[in-house]
Symmetry: C2
């Protein structure tokens, strides 16, 4: 939020609470827990070898993220994320990602632009070699740079959240089909649009890029169409 502030992940990895939070988040997103399942503080604590305190604090955060619902004096229940949510996220992300690209046109730093170009170059290389893990990481990073380049803590925060949400689904996307190379080309076009300061084009391309990713998932049956 505050615009010119420190770069620091909101949830640190080195506190017990941070570890519990990330672990539970992963477990919920990966489907380890059934939707509607009740999470008990002691049980989770024992499983992770910590007391109730960090578990409770993690619960409060997960609640705020919408991953669990806490009912006073009753319990914490997994809300999860279904295909409808995934679709919604992609459609929301598409618009916000477009906005990010638009803002990046004016605000991107030279260093960020350079990293983007390197990213595209490397991604092309790894795509040829078939290095899926690297492609996945580079894709993640590409979008992160874009979010940062948009120069808005609010937007960055938001987009990173959504990005996280669909991480698991996305992993499948890149592995399956040959979305990788197509995605790379789109990245390249986005960078070009930003570099040539064409805001409309940047927004349009970034928007379409997310839509394409989603439709690719549909096409490969990774997600049910919905509606």
């Amino acid at each position: 939020m505050g615009s010119g502030d420190v770069k620091q992940e909101v949830t640190d990895k080195y506190s017990l609470r941070g570890r519990v939070f990330q672990r539970l988040r992963d477990d919920i997103l990966s489907g380890k827990y059934e939707v509607g399942e009740e999470l008990r503080e002691v049980a989770i604590g024992e499983e992770l070898g910590v007391s109730r305190t960090p578990v409770r604090e993690a619960f409060r955060q997960l609640e705020l993220e919408g991953l669990i619902q806490i009912i006073l004096n009753k319990g914490a229940y997994v809300v999860g994320i279904n295909d409808t949510d995934v679709r919604d996220i992609y459609l929301i992300r598409a618009r916000l990602e477009g906005l990010a690209a638009r803002w990046a046109v004016d605000r991107i730093t030279d260093a960020q632009l350079e990293e983007m170009e390197e990213n595209v170059y490397l991604a092309k290389f790894h795509a040829e070699k078939g290095h899926l893990e690297q492609m996945f990481d580079l894709d993640n990073r590409f979008h992160e740079i874009l979010y940062e380049a948009a120069g808005s803590k609010m937007l960055e925060h938001q987009l990173k959240d959504y990005h996280q949400y669909v991480l698991r689904v996305r992993k499948k996307t890149l592995n399956n089909a040959n979305r990788g190379p197509a995605s790379n080309l789109e990245h390249e076009a986005i960078v070009d649009a930003i570099k040539s300061r064409n805001a409309d084009e940047a927004e349009r391309l970034a928007h379409q890029h997310i839509i394409n990713a989603y439709e690719n998932m549909l096409k490969n049956g990774l997600i049910r169409p919905e509606d």
Copy 2:
């Protein structure tokens, strides 16, 4: 998130933690604490008459909302919300609000549509009478209905958050100037577009509605232009 789930405020008002959370959130948004100020668990606890535990849990939530930054073993620092953030929120909200209106066209229930029409009618009444408080509440409710009518927990959650953020700024907006009646007219147009199932128009109007609200704030000097 899970799409068909219970209507329940994420943060309950009746636990100590809930009260601490809302209180701190209000205090931060209203500017009681300086940006960068350190919040100490014991001090806050004493002020509100509670122990560190609920304060800590509230801190974790505020951190996730981006209102404070917690540095491990060090402290919690107010991040706050500045004019840039407000602008960003309005621009983000404008796009998402448009999306909400678009989705509402297909998904709004008869009851919701009816409540919207009543809302517009009542708002017109109170505008004539100059009842600012009621207008403020009705305006809040109008947007809430729209978010609910969009039929997407993800989007609703998001928009309600942003709505909260700018609440204080918004209060000034309605009081000042004669934005009230203009806003009412725009609401009415949005309802009409939704009722006549014109998605493009609904999105355009809802988008513009937020932009107008923001520009009105600028015009009245409630916010500095920025950039």
